[in-house]
């Protein structure tokens, strides 16, 4: 009887010890890796981030990066503003727009630059049937953007202004990227706004007979222009600059590997973006600038373009909306 009691007591003690150990182990583990919640919208430029996570580069840098897919740039900002994500990835327009409306977010990395003549991430493509062969022909035509306050809207406004037209001269239709190819082919829209991989698909479609009437976020890209941005809230950035740097280094490491090996890029595109191998072949994964920190001058160019285009009502200073990590 007494032995049984003893055994039971001993059993109880060991179970308690095990539970305690488990509880104590939990925060210990969390302390090892810093949790970073990363809200993003799907983009081929993020292959480096996906790879950095998969290869354990983030973990090696002491980060536990949680990838949160979100639909659209404004939703990325919302995720940050609600505290549901620490950092996010979007085109530069939504965060700058948000900043202008008082949302405390800042750009701190960029994964891609555009510049004349070749390195571009946005294309304005007309179908052959539309009869549009230059920006001047857009007047009265149906043009597509993927959403308001996006890179596409900025691109349209800037290019049209450079061609002496106004945004209101065309009929703007909001159409998600995946739907634009069919719309072009069927004549529902005359000119689309495409990013990869849709641009490759549209170009390869003989029924459309695609004609690029403009390329790039801005009409004038003699100087490099940032085409995307990694952003964080002011509060998070002020306390986590080291984390931000560690994140950047891990991404750069993964990106360098991708840039060095084309096969790796295609493999990653199939794995992470679910592209078909054929579509993955069309992917252009080159970078203009190896650096990923944002320079005030680059940001200011976008800011000025946003004001000129009328998307921003009041001028902003680059120093107020971005952090140069000086990596």
């Amino acid at each position: 009887m007494s032995t049984l009691k003893l055994t039971r007591r001993r059993l109880g003690a060991s179970v308690t010890a095990a539970v305690l150990a488990a509880i104590l182990a939990l925060p210990a583990q969390a302390e090892e890796l810093k949790k970073v919640r990363f809200a993003y919208l799907l983009s081929d430029t993020l292959l480096s981030v996906f790879r950095a996570k998969d290869q354990g580069y983030f973990a090696a840098a002491g980060l536990d990066v949680d990838l949160i897919p979100v639909q659209g740039g404004p939703a990325v900002i919302a995720a940050l503003a609600s505290g549901e994500a620490d950092i996010g990835y979007a085109a530069p327009v939504p965060p700058l727009n948000a900043r202008a409306q008082g949302v405390p977010v800042k750009l701190f990395l960029t994964l891609g630059h555009e510049a004349d003549p070749d390195r571009k991430y946005v294309w304005l493509v007309a179908s052959k049937a539309s009869g549009v062969s230059s920006l001047a022909d857009v007047k009265g035509k149906k043009i597509a953007i993927n959403g308001n306050g996006t890179g596409c809207e900025l691109a349209w406004r800037d290019h049209l202004a450079a061609a002496g037209l106004s945004y209101d001269d065309a009929e703007v239709v909001v159409l998600p990227f995946p739907q634009q190819e069919a719309a072009l082919e069927q004549g529902t829209i005359d000119v689309g706004c495409a990013i990869q991989p849709f641009y490759a698909s549209i170009s390869a479609n003989p029924e459309i007979g695609a004609k690029v009437i403009a390329r790039g976020l801005l009409a004038d890209e003699k100087e490099p222009v940032i085409s995307d941005s990694v952003i964080g809230t002011d509060a998070w950035l002020s306390e986590n600059e080291d984390t931000a740097k560690a994140f950047a280094h891990a991404v750069v490491k993964a990106r360098d590997e991708l840039l060095a090996n084309r096969a790796l890029v295609e493999e990653a595109a199939v794995t992470y973006l679910d592209l078909t191998p054929e579509l993955a072949k069309t992917l252009d994964y080159s970078v203009l600038k190896p650096e990923v920190d944002v320079k005030p001058g680059e940001v200011q160019r976008i800011l000025d373009a946003l004001v000129k285009a009328g998307i921003l009502k009041t001028p902003l200073k680059a120093a107020d909306v971005s952090i140069d990590l000086k990596l």
């Binding site: 799907l42 897919p69 979100v70 549901e84 069919a182 082919e185 592209l275 078909t276 579509l279």
Partner: protein, 254 residues
């Protein structure tokens, strides 16, 4: 047996209609692929395990959500029937919220609720709670007066009257509300997943569209239809359990 046969038949008919549209060649096949291609795409997603996983994720969310929201809706309906002032408040809230599309609220809800389960729950509750609530309230108010007299003659108090007479009599109408709510719970879950999901059918729909895998997008849409039909069958089973008398009575009348 016929319960299973009919959806299969419907699916076949849908496939035939689909194929007829393909043959009519109104739209290039690339964007509206033949049914065989869609089936193939679905099979390949099954082979990769994607389809099952997505169906499980979305299905479990939708079923859990539907059960919870229907219970809450019926509970509120019961409470509102007992307390007229609560009913006035709830009816006002329903009238204000019902015309607002979830898609319009979600972007703002994200600011307030973030991207996690809270957002899902909010969207599902917002769009799904009113059918069971309104059905419960209206059905309880419309009990056949003769039955109420019978209950009073049997000496029922308000609670016994509710339990023995009003609730059973209201069951067919309440369950019709439940059926509707269950369908839109699935829709709400998919819409939430499309906006901010990392898994499930909604997310996959979005991802597949981004990867320009059009046949797989359509295969997913067919899968949604099947999942919805399965949930409909489940509700029918509940219906038979709680209001089988109504079905049998109707079957005899028809």
């Amino acid at each position: 047996m016929t319960a299973l046969l009919r959806p299969v038949l419907a699916l076949g008919l849908l496939a035939a209609l689909w194929q007829a549209v393909v043959w009519a060649a109104v739209v290039p096949e690339r964007y509206f692929p033949p049914i065989a291609t869609v089936v193939q795409a679905g099979m390949s997603m099954i082979a990769r395990g994607q389809m099952q996983q997505a169906l499980f994720d979305t299905g479990s969310r939708a079923i859990l959500g539907a059960i919870a929201v229907n219970l809450i809706g019926i509970g509120l309906g019961l409470a509102a029937t007992g307390a007229p002032s609560l009913r006035r408040i709830l009816d006002t809230v329903a009238a204000i919220l019902q015309p607002v599309p979830p898609a319009a609220v979600v972007p703002m809800a994200v600011f307030a609720l973030g991207l996690g389960w809270k957002l899902y729950a909010f969207v599902v509750v917002l769009v799904t709670i009113w059918p069971p609530y309104l059905a419960t309230v209206s059905a309880l108010a419309a009990t056949n007066p003769v039955l109420l007299s019978v209950g009073r003659m049997a000496g029922f108090g308000p609670v016994a009257m509710l339990w023995h007479i009003r609730l059973p009599a209201a069951m067919p109408e309440i369950l019709a509300g439940v059926r509707y709510a269950t369908t839109i719970a699935l829709i709400a879950v998919i819409v939430s997943e499309m906006i901010t999901g990392r898994d499930g059918i909604g997310f996959l729909l979005f991802q597949k569209a981004f990867a320009i895998r059009i046949p797989e997008v359509f295969a997913l849409m067919f899968a949604v239809g099947l999942l919805g039909s399965a949930m409909g069958l489940a509700v029918s089973a509940v219906y038979r359990g709680f209001a089988g008398w109504h079905l049998a009575q109707r079957g005899r009348a028809a």
